[in-house]
């Protein structure tokens, strides 16, 4: 009695949306105010780590091919890595601002997994389209943590990073197991014969 793939994607979309809102709030109020209550600093790294942990059962129980399992496994690993590194930074165990690059690394690995494991072209189905769109969005968005490492005081990098997760949430919410994209659905994806 496993849930359909689209349902799992929507659940993770909700997690990404919350992640995006927390990051956006941090950008709006500024680091100084956000850090006034220490628990808030742990919020988004914990959420990222939690998302990584929850991706493991998805990889093991809800994937239907080795390629899908490897892709979901790699997302689980890099989400946990990103969350753990940020938790260590918040805790004061890691000090260098260059640790922010672990986020860029995580996003690039995730992007590669999205783009490599989607075997169909952009307009094969909505799901295929979203895999390509999410993959390339992550490639482009990997510049935001890099910007944060180089120019930590510029809010635009933080805002871009936050909005990335909101946009990814919207894309994941748009996902359906079988659905057309711009009116087109390949007959191999379940469209009209």
């Amino acid at each position: 009695m496993a849930p359909r793939a689209e349902l799992v994607h929507w659940a993770f979309a909700a997690g990404f949306l919350l992640l995006g809102l927390i990051l956006l709030a941090e950008v709006i109020v500024g680091n100084e105010v956000f850090a006034m209550r220490p628990w808030r600093l742990y919020l988004w790294p914990s959420l990222a780590f939690g998302i990584g942990v929850l991706l493991w059962p998805v990889a093991v129980f809800f994937t239907n091919s080795t390629l899908h399992m490897l892709a979901h496994g790699s997302w689980a690993e890099v989400a946990m890595l990103a969350g753990a590194v940020q938790l260590a930074v918040v805790r004061g165990k890691l000090h260098s601002r260059w640790w922010t690059l672990s986020l860029s690394f995580s996003m690039l690995v995730s992007a590669a997994a999205f783009l490599i494991h989607e075997q169909n072209p952009w307009f094969f189905s909505r799901s295929a389209f979203l895999h390509h769109a999410i993959g390339w969005t992550l490639v482009v968005a990997a510049i935001f943590p890099l910007g944060q490492a180089l120019q930590p005081r510029r809010a635009v990098w933080g805002a871009g990073f936050a909005m990335t997760w909101v946009v990814l949430a919207v894309m994941l919410f748009c996902d359906r197991d079988v659905a057309p994209i711009f009116g087109h659905l390949s007959r191999f994806a379940g469209g009209a014969q």
Binding site: M1, L18, A25, I28, R40
Partner: protein, 98 residues
């Protein structure tokens, strides 16, 4: 230097700072409700994504994960659990600096 010039300049800087802070408070206050509104608008445009309105052939997972309701839920969590503390802290720093 005349305080007749320095005084108004500092006053204008303080005013700008206060305006920026109130804009931040407003933006933080609106994040949650805007998200909730997004979920409500989505539910109006795609009512079939609310299982309660179209329950035929739907299982437990469909009831647990209804996208517009998830969006509304996330907005509520942010609005009730995260935003109030942020706004309070923003206002308290405003109070200490002015």
């Amino acid at each position: 230097m005349s305080s007749e010039i320095v005084g108004p300049l500092e006053g204008s800087r303080n005013r700008q700072e206060a305006e920026r802070r109130s804009a931040r408070v407003l933006a933080t206050e609106f994040l949650g409700p805007v998200t909730i509104l997004g979920g409500i608008v989505w539910a109006i445009f795609q009512p079939y994504r609310i299982v309660f309105l179209d329950p035929v052939g739907k299982g437990l997972y469909d009831y647990l994960l209804q996208p517009p309701l998830l969006v509304i839920g996330v907005g509520l969590i942010f609005m009730l659990a995260i935003a109030p503390g942020l706004i309070e802290d923003l206002r308290s720093t405003d109070g200490t600096k002015s």
